[in-house]
Symmetry: C2
Subunit: 278 residues, 2 copies
């Protein structure tokens, strides 16, 4: 399979050792993977980069930086430092972009507006480092059901406001179908992201119901839930997006699948529901 | 307590018989209630209206109409007829507004855009009946986590687009904190609703975590979760909104509370977190 834009995110197969994950991706005809810092911590960037190079895999993204909502000075400094390290890791892995998850609301003050301002300040603070490293920052709007505890950035438009306010061309967004499929202004927002040169990544997975006890794990194989992948993929493709399409699924059932089964299912669903519309 | 704008929604105490609910509200110093069609079905509008009148209670709203996403002709006709009946019931109860829940996505076609168009057509179709009846239609944006199975109307702005497209002054929105607290453009959207003369109701309850197995039941007493009630209440008050503030909680623990305890807790929290900011 030559020229496939399918990428599988490491966390889709997180119950597998990274070496087996990478080999299974290649064996399944996949040419690109999204990596996580958990593996960087265990193996280091050099060893990980050597393996992806040897296997001929692209690295579509690194997950993840962000968590920029803390208000205490020491916490903020630590978060910014950690994000700069994550940027360096992305560069070392050859990943074009670092995914940023904003962070949640402090239940003590319940000040979501303040938390959002701190995210904007944080993105602006780390963007110059990203520019120097040649890595983009993909701010990830998370589904609003995660606004309290995980990410106060909830829509593509809001992420773009923050990216634009940073004044840096390195700041942009990742469009993840699970998080944004419901957005009434989705076509316009995707077009805006691309027009601004800030559409850095496209991730897909389905919205399954009923929600899992941990709603983050309700992400499903494309086709298992409610999302119209042809429609959203056409929106992304119409903007001229030429990057990889990363399948990122967090789901206990998928994690229980043997990795070669997961890879095969993903490729089948991708070729059926996504690829024809790219 | 004279001139309180606190209203308690019937479903907050749904495990109690309606007569006890109404008496407990009055005993707790509450002057207004939001009613549901389930009680209308059991008692009829006349008997229900007689009781609220005898007890000196206002009826702040009737829940609910809507469910306008069906595409089959017979289903659409039935839905429109049912909404016209609901409008008549609201008028008979003296409720100024009927709350509309849009309805979800058909999993067979996954066409959320089409479902949204049908909601807009449906609202436009029933609005003249609402005008004649002297009742407003409060289209309720539900939290995006309900977009698949319950309501394809997900934000205040989207609801206002639909209301404005109807061409009727009877179409507007209800702002429910649980559903919209996360919206990055909330201040602007609330202001837009009021400026357009379409801000018809304000409902409050908290966003509790972890989510309940049925996420609809994660609504909590104000103060138990993550929502900044002073901030959102000030946004609503700044527009000149003078209506009731309806407390609508769906929560197994609240339903287990004796009704007088629930009413007392609601009043305490309302007076602490909401009333000072009206």
């Amino acid at each position: 399979m030559t020229g496939s834009r399918l990428s599988i995110n490491r966390w889709t197969c997180r119950t597998t050792l990274v070496e087996e994950f990478l080999r299974s991706a290649v064996a399944g005809g996949v040419e690109s993977v999204g990596l996580w810092r958990e593996d960087v911590e265990k193996l280091g960037t050099q060893a990980l980069r050597r393996r992806t190079d040897e296997l001929g895999l692209r690295v579509s993204s690194l997950c993840r930086g962000g968590f920029l909502t803390a208000s205490a000075d020491a916490d903020r400094t630590a978060a910014l430092d950690d994000n700069r390290r994550a940027i360096d890791e992305a560069a070392a892995l050859g990943a074009p972009t670092l995914v940023l998850v904003a962070g949640g609301v402090d239940r003590a003050d319940k000040d979501i507006a303040g938390a959002r301002e701190r995210v904007a300040e944080g993105v602006a603070a780390i963007a110059p480092h990203a520019e120097q490293a040649g890595v983009t920052l993909s701010l990830e709007p998370l589904h609003p059901m995660f606004a309290a505890d995980r990410a106060v950035v909830s829509t593509i438009d809001q992420a773009l406001d923050i990216a634009e306010a940073s004044g840096s061309p390195a700041a942009g967004v990742v469009v993840d179908t699970y998080h944004v499929w419901w957005d009434p202004y989705l076509p316009r927002a995707i077009e805006r992201a691309a027009s601004a040169g800030r559409l850095f990544a496209y991730q897909v997975c389905d919205w399954n119901l009923p929600l899992a006890a941990e709603p983050l794990f309700s992400r499903g194989y494309m086709g298992d839930g409610y999302i119209d992948f042809p429609a959203i993929t056409r929106m992304v493709a119409a903007t001229g997006y030429t990057g990889d399409v990363e399948v990122e699924i967090f789901n206990e059932d998928v994690w229980a699948d043997p990795v070669h089964v997961a890879v095969r299912t993903i490729r089948t669903r991708y070729e059926e529901l996504v690829a024809p519309h790219l």
